[in-house]
């Protein structure tokens, strides 16, 4: 039995057209069949999945239905999962079995989802191609010579290849939206604070946010409700009320959205991407949306400011990996200082070390004001740009990425080129805004994404516009190899 969406799966389970054990087994088989080539998963959790599937089947037999009863899901390996290896894509945590669940995992487990496994990712979420993973690169299912994007590359590739109906990701500078764009699926990064970060291994704490990958917007709406909300274990999580996103998408009210297109997001685009983007703008106009040009004058400094703030926070967060309490411990240390240095030098890969060094430089005596403080002020300039734009428009759109996916190996020796692949996504993290990438077309048979950015906590209108757009288009229904 083939399912096109989370919604179809939940309906089939509820109507007993398929048992949860049958469904789980079918997805585990798909992973077995395709993952040797794609490398989406670091750890498979077959036993855990089948035991949980049996438990949910028993509940269903007693007419007990949890919200997401029986839904298979792939979890990014950045989320701590009790009793299961949580590696964060790093040799440093290759031996780490988490003693507790992240709040996102706990909520999804409680809602009745079935974890199929833990997905591959750039090491400590630092990368835009999934090539920095200790476990090898993930392949893009549209063409396996190409990257899936990153850092949540395994989660994106798995959903695009239909070997998992949905997955979790995290987004610090574009790590959900960029791979969603390059893999031709939906990727939602909620407002900073919408979803708890407890148990999500920290990269840059003022930017990190958990989110989702699905094939369509309604599925994202269903899942977002389940993972959102205040968590007393994360004081930066918000207590703003969580709406019923799914019901909001489907209600009869059809808003006449005014949508802003920032000049800064289109002026340097290549002609192919520009054409695909403006075709999607025409569709939005036909749907009744009013299009306005807006200016986000300082977003051009987004990557530069991000490359100060994120490494600075990363150098601080990653100081906890010292080889003493958990994670990789060097066998070559003769004293404590050696233990720290050798464990870290052996455990971290090149990109992680590079970012720790940049962050250490930016925070070191004599440079703090020139780099970190200045970058935080630029961050405010960028946030102001968005505040002003949102006085004139309801939502902002642009291409998610400057181009289609690039080839594996193409940018690995050029960190700057790699960083610039997040040029349209980093600013929303700096401002803490919600944003989503949805499929908008193809260039040379490789997918491209449309980014929709909303006001703080306005995920519901991002999802509604995405849903309405997907009623008019078929891009989200395209599958690799079909």
């Amino acid at each position: 039995m083939e399912f096109k969406s989370v919604k179809e799966i939940l309906t089939a389970i509820k109507n007993k057209h398929i048992s949860v054990v049958e469904l789980t087994t079918s997805y585990l088989n798909k992973i077995m069949q395709h993952d040797d080539e794609l490398n989406c998963f670091i750890t498979m959790t077959e036993e855990f999945a089948l035991n949980k599937a049996k438990e949910i089947d028993k509940e269903i037999a007693k007419k007990k239905f949890r919200e997401l009863a029986g839904l298979p899901i792939a979890q990014k390996d950045i989320f701590c999962t009790k009793g299961v290896k949580t590696s964060c894509g790093s040799k440093m945590l290759d031996n780490f079995i988490s003693p507790y669940d992240a709040t996102v995992i706990e909520k999804l487990n409680d809602a009745g989802t079935i974890m199929l496994g833990k997905t591959n990712m750039d090491e400590f979420a630092m990368g835009s191609s999934n090539e920095t993973s200790f476990y090898g690169p993930v392949k893009n299912p549209w063409d396996t010579e190409y990257v899936p994007g990153g850092s949540s590359g395994g989660s994106a590739s798995a959903v695009a290849a239909r070997i998992s109906p949905c997955s979790t990701g995290t987004d610090t500078g574009g790590s959900i939206r960029q791979p969603a764009s390059l893999c031709g699926i939906c990727g939602l990064k909620p407002t900073y604070g919408r979803v708890s970060r407890f148990g999500m291994i920290a990269f840059a704490s003022s930017l990190d946010q958990a989110g989702l990958f699905t094939t369509d917007a309604l599925d994202a709406a269903i899942l977002l409700k389940e993972i959102s909300g205040h968590d007393e274990k994360d004081s930066t999580s918000s207590s703003v009320e969580v709406p019923d996103y799914h019901a909001y998408c489907l209600d009869d009210v059809k808003p006449n959205y005014t949508i802003g297109i920032p000049e800064e997001f289109t002026k340097d685009l290549n002609e192919d991407v520009k054409k695909v983007f403006y075709d999607s703008v025409k569709t939005l106009e036909k749907m009744g949306c009013k299009i306005k040009t807006v200016n986000l004058k300082y977003t051009g400094l987004g990557v530069s400011a991000y490359q100060v703030v994120a490494p600075a926070e990363c150098s601080s967060n990653l100081s906890r990996f010292d080889g003493v309490r958990f994670g990789h411990r060097s066998g070559h240390a003769s004293n404590l200082e050696d233990l720290y240095r050798e464990s870290r030098s052996e455990g971290f890969g090149k990109e992680v070390k590079r970012r720790i060094l940049v962050g250490t430089y930016a925070l070191s005596a004599g440079y703090y004001d020139a780099y970190y403080l200045k970058a935080q002020k630029v961050r405010n300039l960028i946030a102001n740009d968005f505040r002003n734009a949102f006085n004139k428009v309801d939502l902002i759109i642009g291409p998610t990425t400057p181009d289609k996916a690039f080839k594996i190996g193409e940018k690995m020796n050029d960190p700057i080129a790699m960083y610039l692949s997040d040029v349209y996504t980093v600013s929303t993290n700096l401002a803490g805004l919600p944003a989503m990438s949805i499929p908008m077309g193809f260039k040379d048979n490789m997918p491209l994404g449309l980014q929709i950015i909303g006001k703080h906590f306005d995920e519901k209108n991002i999802l509604k516009l995405s849903y309405l757009y997907q009623k008019e288009t078929e891009w989200h229904k395209k599958e690799p190899g079909k």
Partner: protein, 93 residues
Amino acid sequence: MDKNTINKLTHLSKLSIPDSDIDELTSNLENILELISEIDAAPTNGMEPMAHPLDFNQPLREDKSIKDINRSENQNDTSKTKDGYYIVPRIID
């Protein structure tokens, strides 16, 4: 970015970089600092630094002790622990 600066940074961040990688790393860091230097010209006079993206008070939980931490579960890597303590190499020579 010279060798002394690299040495200072690796010392502060408790990392060692093989000599064979130093040239590549120096060049990478110089390029990254050049990218970062684009923020120098931004007109930030009078701007408040933004450390956090949302303007709200962080809620505090009720001040009561919770005992949900199981020592043996958290110290499940037995190669590093003994009798509830962590084993480390000699600290004082």
